[in-house]
């Protein structure tokens, strides 16, 4: 059962590669216990893994992937593991643990670019996996994906992609109890992987209906 958990991760494909966003929170039940946890990590040269769910299981997955990348580098054969291969490996790991009734309690988002091909996929704790132009975990499935379905286009520019992800993260901040206002956005292109510094989103509360919610209906909320 999960103890320390991270909330949603959102990812989109854009013109030059993949953009992924997550907040830096890790909750302990209803307490927002840790607020500077990096839930997205680069894997090898070509991929980025974002995770929601139990953080200790995510740390263990990072160790498995570390070992995988190490062996891959030791072959020294000029080939390096791309996102499709890493996604496939993770799918097998997650599904096998599920079959033993001892799942790794995570929902993972795996994105990457190799040889010009963009890849964005997801694996859940029971081994369900698929790839798509935009993916999200947890609450993001319910709040972010509808926004992305309407507003995602092929060939999004970097700026538009970031704005779209920020819109999703803002909605999650308003409506997800376990969200924390400290996010990072990561970018993967053919050149490599980079994760932004943590930053906070602005929020808007100045609706008249917020200031005076009971006008015309005294006693309501």
């Amino acid at each position: 059962y999960p103890y320390v958990t991270g909330t949603s991760v959102v990812g989109v494909k854009y013109k030059d590669g993949i953009l992924m966003a997550s907040d830096m929170g890790a909750s302990y039940g209803s307490t927002l216990r840790y607020k500077s946890v990096e839930r997205m990590k680069p894997i090898g040269k070509h991929s980025l893994l974002g995770a929601s769910g139990e953080i200790s299981d995510f740390q263990e997955i990072l160790r498995y992937l570390d070992e995988l990348i190490l062996y891959d580098n030791m072959w020294d054969d000029g080939n390096s593991l791309g996102p499709k291969e890493v996604h496939s490996y993770l799918t097998r790991v997650m599904y096998n643990r599920r079959n033993k009734f001892n799942p790794l309690w995570n929902s993972l988002v795996l994105g990457g670019v190799k040889n010009g091909k963009k890849y964005l996929g997801t694996v859940s704790m029971i081994g369900v996996h698929f790839e798509d132009n935009h993916v999200a975990t947890g609450f993001g499935n319910h709040l972010a994906r509808p926004i992305l379905r309407e507003e995602w286009r092929e060939d999004l520019s970097y700026e538009d992609g970031v704005k779209l992800l920020e819109k999703c993260m803002r909605v999650l901040l308003y409506r997800d109890r376990s969200a924390v206002n400290k996010i990072q956005i990561a970018k993967i292109t053919e050149e490599g992987v980079s994760i932004s510094k943590p930053y906070s989103l602005r929020t808007f509360w100045e609706f008249n209906a917020f200031r005076n919610p009971t006008v015309g209906a005294e006693g309501s909320w």
Partner: protein, 233 residues
């Protein structure tokens, strides 16, 4: 009220680890309870792993003791093989391995803190489940619920040794005031390049908070009080 003597010994506890410029300060209360009975009112929850690394234990007393015993044993061997003192990171990761791989059976939250020559003073929190998280300060145990707001306000980067220790003592004593599962004395352990210092703050030397009164020897010593008045029914 029936005392259930077979209830597992659990340390309600408040544990804290704080870094300062030069090392770390670890602090804890001293209450161990079996159900509602206080089995030990002066326990030592800050346990040594090596000369330079200590761990604060919370949750099940048995689980935390056995984990720290194993880690002390492994670290001892590791130090012999390595030829120099183990680093705080290694100690914390050994604790994490035990906590993670036995997550279904253990119920203990730990804070590992120490000083080594490579990274200086470091604090690692290892909550239930075996997540490892390096932090400038860490709080744990049931009493820590009352301290999240306090630390959000009172924590500053770059404190001196005395500031850090005073912060820890104040925090533990605030938690003791509100958490039934924490109590007794405040113990602190300061670890830096010079070595390790243990301090002891008995219950009656701690500051008084809201609704608490200055302890008296006896009613008879209070000069202006003529004794309890009969009630007017």
């Amino acid at each position: 009220m029936e005392i259930d003597a077979d209830a597992p010994h659990s340390m309600g506890t408040t544990i804290i680890g704080v870094t300062y410029n030069g090392g770390v300060v670890l602090g804890a209360d001293s209450r161990t309870s079996t159900g509602v009975y206080v089995a030990n009112r002066a326990s030592d929850k800050i346990t040594q792993l090596t000369d330079n690394v200590y761990v604060c234990r919370s949750g099940s007393a048995a689980d935390s003791q056995i984990v720290s015993d194993y880690v002390r044993y492994f670290l001892h061997q590791h130090t012999i093989q390595l030829g120099q003192p183990a680093t705080v990171k290694v100690a914390a990761n050994l604790v994490r391995l035990l906590a993670y791989n036995n997550k279904n059976m253990l119920q203990t939250g730990l804070i590992v803190g120490g000083w080594d020559k490579y990274e200086g003073g470091k604090i690692y929190g290892i909550p239930l489940g075996g997540t490892i998280i390096e932090q400038p300060f860490a709080i744990g145990g049931s009493g820590s619920s009352y301290l999240y707001g306090f630390f959000d306000q009172a924590w500053k980067e770059g404190m001196t040794k005395d500031e850090a220790e005073q912060l820890v003592v104040k925090a533990v004593s605030l938690a003791i005031a509100r958490d039934g599962a924490s109590g007794g004395v405040v113990r602190t352990v300061i670890i830096n390049s010079e070595g390790v210092t243990r301090n002891f703050y008995p219950g009656d030397k701690l500051p008084l908070w809201y609704e608490e009164l200055e302890p008296q020897f006896s009613l008879l010593d209070i000069p202006s009080s003529p004794g309890p008045e009969p009630m007017n029914i």
